[in-house]
């Protein structure tokens, strides 16, 4: 399990590197090498580490450990074929982690990042719609049951494409350099993670790598079913490239517009879930 965890961290960071490189090439820039995010993580792990004088020390450090802990747990939940509701819970708890990162330092930049994280809570609702739609068809929220259902009825992406779209939007809302990345916008320096340097930032990078891996793997398993490992990795790379196209071609929205659009999408998805519930 530990080798798989390490693999997931490094592959997740590689995915983020591919994402960044693709954005750069679409925008006709050379961009950093695809392994840049891995280098970042390793570099921060060996840099001088400190805690700001104004920070809430225990929370400042604790939240990094919680961030790694929840996504490690999420990885093992997916591998064990447990309830997708746990993944949903962990995904939503990541918002609390962002909130904790931002507020614990006492920095105004981090604070604004944390506040933006709270106000963009609407971005999570499409995930609930996705789960509701899956539940209506598969009559279970266990990943193992969802995989079994797809072996009989075919991939869910063809049965409930809008639910797949909803989850795709959820993943998009968590991607860096995207239209909804208001929590780490440049006018806030780095937003909620501004004050976390050195080994704390390395921990955050590990969390980001794991998060990307888990979310993309969950997407592939839930909507395409059990696929051979090589195909799983290839599908994750292809999805991250499509996300990079969206991020490269859409400017970052203002916080107000970001929340408005996310709320609009959430509203449409709720109507879709109600329709499925009515007809299913």
């Amino acid at each position: 399990m530990i080798p798989y965890l390490i693999f997931a961290i490094f592959f997740g960071l590689l995915l983020l590197g591919i994402h960044r490189k693709t954005i750069a090439r679409i925008q006709r820039r050379p961009g950093p090498p695809v392994w840049q995010e891995i280098l970042h993580m390793l570099k921060f792990a060996f840099k001088v580490t400190w805690i700001p004088a104004t920070a809430s020390d225990t929370l400042f450090v604790g939240v990094v450990l919680i961030a790694i802990g929840i996504w490690t747990a999420a990885l093992f939940v997916v591998l064990a074929g447990e309830s997708i509701l746990i993944i949903f819970g962990i995904y939503m708890l990541h918002k609390i982690v962002e909130h904790g990162f931002g507020l614990s330092s006492g920095s105004p930049y981090g604070k604004f990042g944390g506040v933006r994280s709270v106000i963009s809570a609407a971005s999570e609702i499409p995930l609930f719609v996705s789960i509701a739609a899956i539940a209506i068809y598969t009559k279970s929220l266990m990943l193992s049951d969802i995989i079994d259902y797809q072996q009989v009825h075919g991939p869910l992406i063809f049965i409930i494409p809008l639910a797949a779209f909803a989850m795709y939007m959820v993943i998009l809302s968590k991607m860096p350099y995207g239209p909804f990345s208001v929590v780490e916008a440049k006018e806030l320096v780095s937003g909620y993670k501004t004050e976390h340097f050195g080994v704390w930032r390395a921990g955050l990078e590990i969390c980001n790598g794991l998060k990307s891996y888990v979310l993309l793997m969950t997407f592939v398993i839930v909507f395409f079913g059990a696929v051979p490992f090589a195909w799983l990795l290839l599908a994750m790379v292809l999805i991250i490239i499509t996300l990079a196209f969206v991020c490269a071609l859409c400017p970052m929205l203002s916080p107000f517009d970001s929340v408005t659009i996310q709320t609009g999408i959430a509203g449409l998805m709720l109507i879709y879930a109600l329709y499925l519930g009515w007809t299913g």
Binding site: L85, H99, I119, M142
Partner: protein, 218 residues
């Protein structure tokens, strides 16, 4: 639905308070526990604020009395959240959820600032209004099914709890769990105390997650 939060790992019939543990409820319980320990162990940060009209940055401090009260409220909130995560009784869930609402009002209202107290007052009104559908839903579950036990209700092949009752329960939880939006409006901008504000957001999120499991299970 047979498997919402995973297989039941254990259940403790503790008087009326039936505790049941699934991978889902256990995960949420552990998270509430970890954050409660963080609240106990953490001191509030000192927020930096920019002074408008001058080239100056000030550091905000939290007074000892205020810190003690907010920490007490945050710990109570953590305990209420833990109870709401593990309970297998609809009435107890409503009770723990309303306690989460009350403690969240306490966390916000302890700050001696006009803006923050306005936010706490408004949130208090919403939370108080939320108790009506919350406890009303619990009462209607008992009236329509004859039991409040989630384990008993989960045994039914198709849900015997009317859709409107489930909607009431969700509405009640929404009323109690609105704290982060009021806190984000005023408190975070004007008052330090990250460990306690986080407990507001965490407890609200946890009760939202649990109510999803409850309405899908019963």
């Amino acid at each position: 639905m047979s498997s919402v939060g995973g297989a039941t790992l254990a259940h403790l019939p503790f008087g009326d308070i039936v505790i049941y543990i699934t991978p889902f409820t256990l995960t949420l319980f552990l998270l509430a526990l970890v954050f409660t320990i963080l609240v106990i162990a953490s001191r509030p940060e000192r927020q930096l604020d920019i002074t408008f009209g001058a080239d100056r940055i000030i550091t905000k401090e939290t007074g000892l009395t205020e810190m003690r009260f907010r920490r007490f409220m945050a710990i109570a909130c953590g305990l209420a959240s833990m109870g709401a995560m593990l309970t297998g009784d609809v009435f107890d869930f409503a009770l723990f959820t309303s306690l989460v609402g009350i403690t969240n009002v306490g966390i916000v209202a302890a700050v001696k600032s006009r803006h923050v107290q306005n936010a706490a007052f408004q949130y208090g009104l919403v939370a108080m209004a939320g108790t009506v559908p919350l406890f009303g839903a619990a009462a209607m579950v008992a009236a329509t099914t004859g039991t409040l036990s989630m384990l008993e209700l989960a045994k039914e092949a198709t849900s015997v709890v009317p859709f409107a009752v489930k909607a009431f329960l969700v509405l009640g939880v929404m009323g109690e769990g609105m704290a982060p939006f009021y806190a984000a409006k005023a408190e975070m901008f004007r008052a330090p105390g990250a460990p306690y504000v986080i407990m507001c957001s965490l407890s609200s999120l946890l009760i939202f997650l649990r109510v999803i499991e409850v309405v899908l299970t019963v």
